[in-house]
């Protein structure tokens, strides 16, 4: 089985594009094909109209940042950053200037003479970033660059990386399995599954209008209700009619984000049910509601103040706006 199968991907100049998917979906292989470490059996890879399919790695003029940083352990920070310029035969004086600029851009001025093993993980990743951008690549490839950092550091690095990418105007292809990271940073996201691109779109597109069951389930939490469309109306398998946008007749699945469901007094909504479980997350509460027909829904409600938490086993009604739900074809 091929790691990547029939992939058609267009990244716009200056775009922050994320390849998102579970491990083994082919996202890293795709990135390695762009970099030139893997050769596709068929098809082409081009940047700015230049066909790179048969061009060896060292002549592709790309920047790359690895999850393991991959710094040269036997060289200083400055030597690490200077490496790409040295390979390009840039004059010594210019190297010194550009290394200083690049280290300034990642807030590491003054660290020139350190060795990689004298730096923290976050600092090492900044050096890796400086080393990649100092050659002014047209394309910057990032393979889970923040995966080895702790959560707090990762979030601040996300903001920095995004700002740096904007400032430099570099086209960035970012591989991650972290959906929050992809949603927060990307201009567009490509969701990969089993070697194929399932959906490409803006973070809002992907989140609000998932094109497949896989995408719906991979990004965030979602309620999926199997049923049938007939005459513009959706009926769940248990016989409950449910509001949804127009769609063609036939068996289909209704997808509904938990935060788009509102809870009301029994009898006032789409279906009545009882609260069978509640998880208190601080800013919000996730309720599990089981309807009279036995269907289970997740509902997220904002924690708007003390005393508003719903008691277990209390009776509620589920309701949502027509356009809150999306229909996705059977995958």
């Amino acid at each position: 089985m091929p790691a990547v199968d029939t992939l058609d991907l267009h990244v716009q100049p200056g775009e922050f594009f994320s390849l998102l998917g579970p491990s083994g979906c082919g996202k890293t292989t795709t990135l390695r094909m762009i970099a030139g470490f893997e050769t596709p059996d068929e098809g082409t890879i081009a940047v700015g109209g230049r066909d790179l399919t048969r061009v060896p790695v060292h002549r592709r003029d790309m920047g790359m940042v690895f999850q393991s940083y991959a710094l040269f352990p036997h060289r200083t920070v400055a030597e690490n950053v200077a490496f790409g310029l040295r390979m390009r035969g840039v004059p010594k004086r210019e190297i010194t200037e550009r290394v200083a600029t690049a280290l300034g851009q990642v807030a590491l001025a003054g660290y020139e003479e350190r060795r990689p093993n004298q730096l923290s993980g976050g600092q090492q990743q900044r050096v890796a970033l400086a080393r990649a951008i100092v050659i002014r690549p047209a394309v910057l490839l990032c393979d889970e660059p923040l995966g080895a950092l702790d959560r707090k550091l990762r979030q601040s690095m996300q903001v920095e990386l995004k700002q740096l990418q904007r400032r430099l105007g570099v086209t960035l292809v970012f591989v991650t399995h972290d959906q929050e990271e992809a949603l927060a940073m990307s201009d567009r996201i490509g969701i990969m599954n089993a070697g194929r691109l399932d959906q490409v779109g803006t973070p809002a597109d992907i989140y609000d209008r998932p094109a497949s069951r896989f995408v719906a389930g991979f990004i965030g939490e979602i309620n999926l209700v199997d049923g049938t469309m007939a005459g513009g109306r959706f009926t769940a398998r248990d016989g409950t009619p449910m509001p949804c946008p127009a769609g063609s007749d036939g068996p289909t699945t209704l997808a509904l984000r938990p935060e788009k469901i509102t809870l009301g007094a029994p009898g006032s909504g789409v279906a009545d049910g009882t609260i069978t479980d509640a998880s208190f997350l601080g800013d919000q509460v996730i309720y599990t509601v089981t309807t009279g027909a036995g269907a289970v829904f997740l509902v997220k409600e904002r924690n708007s103040g003390a005393g508003h938490l719903r008691a277990p086993a209390s009776a509620v009604a589920l309701d949502w706006r027509l356009d809150a739900a999306v229909l996705i074809g059977r995958a």
Binding site: V57, H58, M62, F66, A70, L71, F83, A132, I135
Partner: protein
């Protein structure tokens, strides 16, 4: 707990004594004025060392041993280093078998290896030139370099090489700028073993040296057949100190500690 600890300590001290005691005996023998082993020593003298340095037989053989060992180190690092890279990276069919073959000289008794080489040289009518001695030592030294280099290569993060390639380094430059500097500690650690193997080599040398061009261990053996005085102990001390010195210098230069389990 503390009983187990004292057993552990005692065992360690006993093993250390077992390892160091022969060295102490040689040191005492080399410095003691009497021409036979005597305990307790009756004094301290340099006469055995002076006798060693004054004997052209000993000094010539010491020079030959050092020359051969140096050549063996260079050859075995080049061959062993290259072989290890090929075995680890080459995706060769039967790489495991070839690795095992490369390591067989370690498992064969050296006296057999020496005899086999002697017969090979005889059957080709080559005689016993010094380069044959060097090659003979190299055969048993190469496995050490392969082992130590493979140990470093197995821990090697190949992303570092990929990073260099993306940055514009041709395969040749990746090797020269990244691969070689990073495997150097492993190759040099193997080089230390190669030096000791060659400098200390007796069974193979016995078959491959010619009269008048003998290495130090062979000269020492011949000397002991007829004389047993402090000179032999002094010769031992010189060769031990030289070996320790080489290990120390290489450690200072490349840091053998960087090398993992061998």
């Amino acid at each position: 707990m503390s009983a187990a600890r004292s057993v552990y300590l005692t065992a360690n001290v006993a093993i250390l004594i077992f390892l160091i005691a022969p060295l102490a005996v040689i040191a005492i023998f080399a410095l003691n004025p009497t021409p036979y082993i005597q305990f307790p020593p009756v004094g301290v003298t340099w006469r055995w060392f002076q006798k060693f340095w004054a004997s052209p037989e000993f000094t010539n053989s010491l020079v030959l041993s050092l020359e051969v060992a140096f050549a063996v180190v260079v050859l075995s690092m080049a061959i062993g280093g290259a072989a290890a890279i090929g075995l680890e990276r080459g995706r060769l069919p039967g790489a495991r078998l070839v690795t095992a073959l490369f390591l067989t000289p370690l498992m064969l008794p050296a006296i057999l290896t020496g005899l086999a080489m002697f017969q090979l040289l005889l059957s080709f009518g080559i005689g016993r030139p010094v380069w044959a001695l060097v090659l003979g030592h190299t055969v048993v030294a190469v496995p050490y370099v392969i082992r130590t280099t493979l140990a470093v290569l197995s821990e090697f993060d190949r992303r570092v090489e990929e990073a260099a390639a993306v940055l514009g380094a041709t395969p040749t430059r990746v090797f020269a700028e990244v691969t070689l500097p990073l495997i150097r500690p492993g190759v040099f650690a193997g080089g230390v073993f190669a030096f000791i193997t060659s400098f200390d080599q007796f069974p193979i040398s016995l078959f491959l040296v010619t009269p008048g061009h003998e290495t130090l261990p062979v000269v020492m053996f011949n000397y002991m057949k007829f004389d047993l005085d402090g000179t032999i102990a002094a010769a031992s001390m010189v060769s031990i100190l030289l070996a320790v010195g080489v290990v120390f210098i290489i450690d200072r230069l490349v840091g053998l500690r960087a090398t993992v389990a061998i």
